[in-house]
Amino acid sequence: MTNPSTPPLSGAPLLEVQGLGIRFGGLHAVRDVTAQLQPGRITAIIGPNGAGKSTFFNLISGFYKPTSGRIIFRGEDITPLRTHLVVGRGIARTFQTTTIYQELSVLDNAMIGHRVRTRAGLLDALLRTGRERHDESESRAGAMRALERVGLAGQAALPAGALNQEGKKRVGIAMALASDPHLLLLDEPAAGMNPEETENLMGLIRQLVSGGLSIALVEHKMNLVMGLADDILVLHHGQKIAQGTPAQITRDPAVVEAYLGSHAHGGQMGQEQEQGGQPGTVQDAGVDHA
């Protein structure tokens, strides 16, 4: 069940959040979450609808500013950084609903993702400086690398809007990959995919991780989560209620009650009802790596 290539749990965490929280008006969408993400691993974040998963990603990627807590990435406090700087530090993300530039070409989409690695500005553009020319070819190359990683190199010239749903998802991932991230955040990457496509996606994710990338993903498809994740973080009402390996999580009664229901073992919907794990408390079931 655990990814065979899982590196040992030693060493500094890739990402660490401490007491992270945000409120929208009266609503505490994320509340006092403390957790760590280890490098080279796949961390899944699960939880009921409205648990705060997307918001959690929005906080990490600098999209929202937390009302409390800190975010430490590779030893640096990135809490106050603006989004593009966060991307620059190596955190890239995709959105829950596929958002890409439909009318631009697939290649352009990826090149936009690579922007953060280039420095050519307005003056470079106007004067066609050496830096401009270098950055232009560099972004083309970087974008092509990203497209190759997601298997879209052949479609580079097509308008992104012409691709099918799965293809668009891959464009979104390529855009994120083009920024050469250390950590990739995927928000419901398999939503709207059938089992076959989901399988392809899982293959892609595994391949990316074996290339040294760390991934955090939000997903409701339990077969994907259980099949991929090295580590699972469970949010409920904005709070972390458990963290652990898939095996530990499926046995956690709180998680089962709040979220998994009959899917504790990654079973397909409607398959044989399986009883979810043994009784136990959150504390002893969810192993925190803190």
Binding site: N49, G50, N164, E188, H220, G261, M269
Partner: protein, 235 residues
């Protein structure tokens, strides 16, 4: 009965549906399987009147649905939970739901009852009733979209991937609800990536590939079909 005969739909010069034929009998749950881009949503949009067909016909209880007037279709009992949800983001959840009952606007008491039922189905919505729909999480918005479709008290319910983005527990509840609504005599046409779950509540099903019906049969037949098993059940 829903009768779709030789229905074709074009986007520009690209044909998304090629002479589709299918039926939904009163009281049936029929599931529509198909890969991404197969044309499921196109069919749904056509049945609800958002999209005009280029050929063929579709009728519900004898009423033609292809006039390109969704307001006509919904007032004749056909209501849809659409792909992309199409909510009113700045209106409150409750206003979204109430607008779902627009065609029954003179039956205030009936609408109150229906609203209660929706809140029962999605208790998470009670807390959110005054929040703007756009501020909800993805899954919560999906609940509103389903609830809004139910508020129209349809005789034919069109559900386009209702489980999209929903937590597993809720998916179960939604499908259970579909079954329950069906038990009260409402016909349901359902598109679902989660083929296993869908087939397990459906009576019959169709497989749509590249805009054409390539396979049809009872739920059991489809579940045992090799092609279905490999492509849609992931077995």
């Amino acid at each position: 009965m829903l009768e779709v005969r030789d229905l074709s739909v074009k986007y520009g010069n690209f044909t998304a549906l090629h002479s589709i034929n299918l039926t939904v009998q009163p009281g049936e749950i029929v599931v529509l399987l198909g890969a991404n881009g197969a044309g499921k949503s196109t069919l749904f949009r056509t049945l609800s009147g958002l999209q005009r067909p280029s050929g063929g016909a579709a009728t519900w209880q004898g009423t033609p649905l292809t006039g390109g007037k969704p307001e006509f279709n919904v007032s004749h009992g056909v209501s849809q939970c659409p792909e992309g949800r199409l909510l009113f983001p700045e209106l409150s959840v409750e206003k979204n739901l109430r607008l779902g009952a627009y065609v029954h606007r003179r039956d205030a008491a009936g609408n109150e009852r229906e609203l209660e039922k929706v809140y029962e189905l999605f208790p998470a919505m009670v807390d959110k009733r005054h929040a703007p729909a756009g501020s909800l999480s993805g899954g919560q918005q999906q609940m509103v979209a389903i609830g809004r479709a139910l508020m129209a008290r349809p005789s034919l319910l069109l559900l386009d991937e209702p489980s999209l983005g929903l937590a597993p527990l809720v998916v179960e509840q939604v499908l259970a609800a579909a079954q329950q609504i069906n038990a009260q005599g409402v016909s349901v046409l359902l598109a679902e990536q989660n083929a296993y779950a869908a087939l397990s509540i459906a009576h019959r099903g169709y497989v749509l590939e590249s805009g054409q019906v390539t396979l049809q049969g009872t739920a059991q037949e489809l579940m045992n079909d090799d092609r279905v098993r490999s492509a849609y059940l992931g077995v």
